[in-house]
């Protein structure tokens, strides 16, 4: 990013391994939007770290050229916290599915949000468990007949927007992989945001979710930007967040400015831990001061 005139290679983040996603899977949309934005914004693979959990969507890092952690199911965010806090100079992107993030990982989602950890969290929400072949997910709609719900889902789904707002996230948005241009815009703004930026990405599973299809969404989505939404007003954001079914808002629901965790942490606020010397002596800590505490 130092040389502003550097020629941008838009494919810089495109990996050599072909995704094994189904043709038409929504996740392709986020992959291409994200790799493009990363390149456009001048990031480089060696200082970008993409972290995921487990699921179809979580294979995402493998299809890029950046550093990555394909973590355990549901644990992408804590891994991201470890990474970001010891090396705040990395651009850390966290990706995964609805099962991964809203199901098994819900607790970490809440805590990463409230801590305002400076990562971007992109959830490919297909309202289904894809990789395990079509069970209902915590975001599956009431009544959805899936492999495990012969009479239809009877648990109310997670509302990711409301949940993120309730958890105190400082950037809360929703995108749709059927509109990659708009999505790319959101991803860029999320990267630009300092702190926890979260996008619920509606990403149809063409194989197992025959209910929430591209068409289903196309009939319902609209842009918050088109309706004078004030994204600094959390109350308004929460009310918009209740919308689903008839109309589904896309865009930034809420954004606010506050310190990110690495900016307040007593250690990483003024140094990059990974670059610091090791041990007492190299850090110029006198033995006397260490031992004195124990006398």
């Amino acid at each position: 990013m130092t040389e502003t005139k550097k020629k941008i290679n838009i494919k810089l983040f495109k990996g050599s391994v072909k995704p094994n996603w189904c043709p038409g899977c929504g996740d392709y949309g986020l992959l291409s939007a994200t790799t493009k934005v990363l390149a456009q914004m001048g990031y480089e693979p060696h200082n970008t770290l993409i972290i995921s959990g487990i699921g179809c969507s979580s294979s995402f890092p493998h299809w890029t050229t950046a550093y990555g952690i394909h973590m355990l199911h549901g644990r992408a965010l804590p891994a991201a916290m470890g990474a970001k806090m010891v090396n705040p100079s990395l651009n850390v992107v966290v990706v995964g599915g609805d099962g991964d993030g809203y199901g098994i990982g819900a607790g970490h989602f809440i805590h990463a949000a409230r801590r305002n950890l400076d990562v971007t969290y992109l959830v490919m929400n297909n309202q289904i468990y894809g990789l395990t072949l079509g069970q209902s997910s915590p975001s599956s709609q009431i009544g959805h007949i899936t492999l495990t719900t012969p009479e239809g889902v009877d648990e109310r789904p997670i509302n990711p927007i409301a949940l993120a707002l309730g958890a105190g996230a400082s950037f809360v948005a929703r995108g749709f992989t059927g509109d990659t241009k708009h999505l790319a815009g959101l991803v860029q703004q999320a990267f630009e945001h300092t702190g926890f930026s979260f996008i619920d990405v509606l990403s149809p599973c063409v194989t197992f979710n025959k209910l929430n299809t591209y068409d289903w969404f196309r009939e319902r989505v609209y842009k918050l930007d088109d309706e004078n939404h004030d994204s600094t007003d959390i109350g308004q954001a929460f009310v918009r967040g209740q919308e689903w079914g008839e109309r589904i808002p896309l865009g930034i629901y809420y954004q606010s400015k506050m310190f990110a965790l690495h900016q307040t942490d007593p250690t990483s606020r003024d140094r990059i831990p990974i670059n610091e010397p090791l041990g007492f002596k190299k850090q110029n800590i006198s033995y006397e001061s260490v031992f004195n505490d124990f006398k």
Partner: protein, 614 residues
């Protein structure tokens, strides 16, 4: 009520009956949670350390914040000591329950100082007289109210004033200790000084002839520190270059988090309290991948929660150090009691088979070196290393001479740019020793994806489109062998057991981890009192078990006793697994209390008596 005794007072453990001056002196304060015993115990230990005595301390805590029954043990000696012991020379009873619980531990000619305002002594009279225990009856509550009505903890200081006076040792040191403790808070300091004085005066006025002679201190004052096992591990980690600690509080591992939270900025460590242990260990994995040395600490319940991620660290060859401060289990168990029952659960933690190392420090002193070794092993062999501590080791305190804080740091194979040996970066390059180079984000041309699935040399997953293809059959075998090749290499680096005592003793006691000090003292006692000879083999490096270093000892072992605090005989099983060797006897105390020289001696004596009677 039949009094169940799980230890005995053996005369050889101290010399009080032999000379008029005591070499070793054991003090205990008992009361209810909230009485400030740990703080008083800590001050007392620092004071004795300042005088130049060897010091050990042991906390008797409960999962209770107020009330209940808790105690703090402080023991001093003019000769080096390796364990606290149950028998007491001086007991401060702030509650009646203290007498009910600890009277059995009192030696002949010992003193008990009671808070007469709270303790009714009548029902113990008979026994006290019979056992020649002298009572110092202080109206501690009343006296402390005289100084400040709201500070009941001043009672402790009054009792300490009396104790110091009884021992006829200088009071100044304690005043200095208090001064350091209370820093600028003059009012508090003042009240405590008054309390000290009151204790002294009250003793002198009411118990004119009460006096105990302890042999003078032998060390140079203020040269040693008084430190707990957990703090020692924290120092070892910092010395090793720790940059990230993520931990969730749990007894008895919490004090690592507390200590390092308070030093974080100064010691350059990012310290974060995680939302749970699953997060703690996965945060560590994220930070370790990024390139720093990391640690987490917990106890049973939290360690169990780390199971899945532990296997991930083994599979991805990510170096992490985990402190398991064992407490009495299973499940919630008894959080404030020690046990050595996590060895096997950690050897086999997480599904499938993945590499790991386990080290169990045998003393507070050794905890520093073991921690340094743990970090070096983690980096060299790229695997999770568990430091097995326990409630006793973690929470006990001892005086230790100042030591070198600068240690050798070996970060293992790291790739930063193309070399002749490694022109192209491959995270899991199939090398002869099984160890492949690591590379960290920020490094160009080394970008790779860490993955818990089986993988090829480039860290590409074999679980998706390559699962079941013939190329994967081979790769899986090779990767498995590579991971376990490291274990065999590491086994060579593991220290074998240490022999204490004569080589060809009649009896050998084997032990591991924190019980070593107490076993050692029991051995000393047995050697002194018996016509038989005794030695000890103690283990610190447990997994991969260095059985070849144990084999040479076998031929010299006559009758052997394996001593460990668990039900199933875990180290015994591990030794047997590798060597087919089994000890003659096993002692596995289950009562929950920390083994002491006298409890071990009792158990050994009972065992041998049983044998004889058969």
């Amino acid at each position: 009520m039949t009094i169940r005794v799980i230890w005995i007072t053996l005369t050889y453990l101290s010399d009080d009956t032999k000379s008029s001056s005591l070499i070793r002196y054991a003090i205990r304060i008992g009361g209810v949670a909230g009485d400030g015993l740990q703080s008083t115990g800590s001050l007392l230990q620092k004071y004795f350390n300042r005088l130049g005595y060897y010091v050990v301390g042991h906390p008797g805590t409960q999962s209770t914040i107020r009330g209940g029954h808790v105690w703090q043990h402080v023991e001093i000696s003019s000769q080096e000591i390796f364990s606290f012991d149950r028998p007491l020379n001086f007991l401060i009873a702030l509650s009646e329950e203290t007498l009910e619980v600890h009277l059995r531990d009192m030696k002949e000619n010992s003193y008990v100082l009671i808070n007469a305002d709270k303790v009714k002594i009548e029902k113990f009279h008979q026994e006290l007289i019979q056992r020649k225990i002298k009572v110092l009856s202080f109206p501690l509550s009343k006296l402390s109210r005289e100084i400040d009505v709201k500070r009941a903890v001043l009672a402790n200081t009054i009792a300490i004033g009396a104790l110091i006076t009884l021992l006829g040792i200088p009071m100044e040191g304690y005043i200095d200790t208090l001064r350091k403790r209370f820093g600028g808070r003059e009012k508090l300091l003042d009240m405590n000084l008054k309390a000290l004085d009151l204790g002294k005066t009250y003793l002198r006025e009411n118990y004119l002839d009460a006096f105990v002679s302890v042999t003078p201190a032998t060390l140079e004052g203020m040269k040693a520190i008084v430190i707990s096992g957990n703090e020692m591990i924290a120092l070892g980690a910092t010395a090793s270059g720790l940059k990230f600690l993520a931990q969730y509080p749990i007894t008895p591992a919490s004090s690592i988090l507390t200590y390092l939270s308070n030093k974080a900025s100064r010691y350059g460590i990012v310290v974060r309290q995680a939302e749970d242990e699953l997060a703690a260990i996965t945060m560590c994995i994220g930070a370790a991948y990024t390139g720093v040395r990391v640690m987490t600490a917990s106890s049973g319940p939290g360690i169990s929660l780390m199971s899945e991620a532990f296997g991930y660290a083994g599979m991805t060859e990510t170096p992490i150090v985990i402190v398991d401060s064992m407490r009495a289990g299973p499940s919630t168990g008894i959080p404030t009691k020690m046990e050595q029952a996590d060895l096997y659960s950690i050897m086999f933690m997480s599904h499938g088979e993945a590499p790991r190392a386990i080290l169990a420090p045998r003393s507070i002193k050794e905890a520093f070196d073991v921690t340094v070794k743990a970090f070096n092993i983690a980096d060299k062999y790229q695997l999770p290393v568990v430091i097995l501590s326990d409630f006793a080791l973690s929470e006990q305190t001892a005086s230790i001479d100042e030591f070198e804080l600068d240690v050798e740091i070996n970060r293992g194979k790291i790739w930063t740019k193309a070399t002749d040996e490694h022109p192209k970066y491959k995270r899991y390059e199939l090398t002869e020793d099984g160890i492949s180079p690591r590379a960290f984000p920020g490094t160009k041309d080394a970008e790779y994806i860490l993955v818990g699935a089986e993988h090829d040399e480039d860290s590409h997953s074999l679980s998706g489109n390559r699962a079941g293809l013939p190329e994967s059959w081979d790769l899986r075998e090779k990767m498995f062998k590579k991971r376990f090749r490291k274990m065999e290499l590491l086994r060579d680096e593991m220290d074998g057991p240490e022999l204490y005592g004569v080589k060809n003793a009649d009896y050998t006691v084997l032990c591991w981890g924190s019980t070593q000090g107490a076993v050692r003292e029991a051995i000393d006692g047995l050697n002194q009192e018996n016509s038989t000879s005794w030695n000890m083999l103690s283990f610190v490096d447990l997994f991969p078990f260095p059985f070849e270093k144990f084999l040479p000892f076998i031929k010299n072992i006559k009758t052997s006793i394996m001593f460990e605090v668990n039900y199933t005989g875990q180290l015994e099983n591990l030794i047997h697994h590798h060597t087919d060797w089994k000890p003659t006897h096993s002692i596995r105390p289950l009562h929950g209390e920390t083994p002491t020289p006298s409890s071990i001696t009792l158990e050994i004596t009972e065992l041998l008596n049983q044998e004889e009677n058969q």
